[in-house]
Point group: none
Chain length 199, copies 2
DNA sequence: CTTGAAAGTTCTCCAAACGTTCGCTATTCT
DNA sequence: AGAATAGCGAACGTTTGGAGAACTTTCAAG
């Protein structure tokens, strides 16, 4: 079982890896838990290694890795249940946590900040962040980042016409779809996720 | 495991490829991470190749490619820029990546699945996942998870009346606010984030 | 084909940061 | 009292990586 300080150290390491993608140095761990001595931190880390929570890649800086048991649940949030007006929060069978990495991350994905109201109809507001997966083709009805005449970029729903034309449809009743011949439109990516921060 | 500077270099390369469609030169990488020596940059790139994050197409300029495993363990996404209808994607000064941990994770936070349309007015749709930070008080105007009569849970905007009453306001023009005496309403948490997956 | 600029490669020098180990001390728990 | 947990600071060798010079390769313009 871990001591209080060992727990702090492990939490600091986990947090640092999540934030930066690599392990902290001893000094960084020390700064995070309020210890001014490298030696003391080293002893804590050694204890965590001995107890099987960490692995060390010796002879290299930042060579700490979480073991599998310690790594699970790092990028996760507990998922409590469903909330609907007029009812108590109801548990969701089978799921009790969501993993942000599974949810949003992946190779070839990147984020874009949305400006404008062209997609308010499906809840994408000005200032939201959307996650795009790089692709040069898309299926009908998907929401894509499209480049028009290699100049203008836009986020719209894609619809192919029977005549080979491409319609880019805003989800906003006050705007009208734009229709282009296929050669003027290049698809850059597909919308796969969206997030917003309220603070 | 990557060192801090190797991480910077990899991020700069990934970013450059996403933005320009081709790999950067050593000098460009150096400029991006603040290194004035080609030799030093070369050593960083070589380390990334040795560790399997990059491949070199030797004998050609800009011959760097990302391997598939290039993103692992990190909860960050490259942030390319702003997208607005009718304009090219424009870079955001200062920020080049967003960190999901900063964005969404934190102590006392949990996720809820939203049912119903009571908050469509601010882009929270049926099926979305919202992130709540546990709290028992909230400021006026914040969106809260509130428990009414210790029975019904609901996600609404909070507004306190002059007479001590509490109004829970749905963001939906077809619904009307509910007003309760303060003792019937208990605040459980505050909305801090929201996410949605499109696949 | 020649030429020159830009890009990549390899090298040495050197400073700063890092991990490791040690002795000493203080606190807490049994 | 004894053991376990921790903190501090110093010493030492190792790793990282910035600077710059010298050299080779690539590529496009003349």
């Amino acid at each position: 079982m871990l001591t209080a300080q060992q727990n702090n150290a492990l939490a600091a390491i986990r947090d640092h890896i999540l934030r930066h993608g690599h392990a902290p140095t001893l000094n960084e761990i020390g700064a995070a838990i309020g210890v001014h001595s490298k030696g003391a931190v080293h002893r804590l880390v050694q204890a965590l290694i001995d107890k099987g929570y960490l692995q060390r890649e010796s002879g290299s800086w930042r060579g700490l890795r979480l073991t599998e048991t310690a790594a699970e649940g790092t990028a996760t949030l507990p998922l409590i249940g469903r909330i609907a007006a007029g009812r108590p929060i109801e548990a969701i069978a089978g799921e009790e946590s969501i993993n942000l990495a599974d949810f949003l991350l992946g190779p070839r994905r990147y984020a874009l900040r949305v400006m404008g109201d062209s997609m308010v109809g499906i809840g994408i507001l000005d200032g939201d962040t959307v996650i795009i997966e790089q692709a040069d083709t898309a299926r009908n009805g998907e929401i894509v980042v499209a480049l028009i005449d290699d100049q203008e970029a836009t986020l719209k729903r894609l619809k192919r016409g029977d005549d080979g034309s491409i319609a880019l449809i805003p989800e906003n009743p006050t705007m009208t779809p734009m229709i282009y011949p296929a050669h003027r439109v290049r698809i850059q990516g597909i919308l796969v996720g969206q997030l917003r921060s309220y603070r």
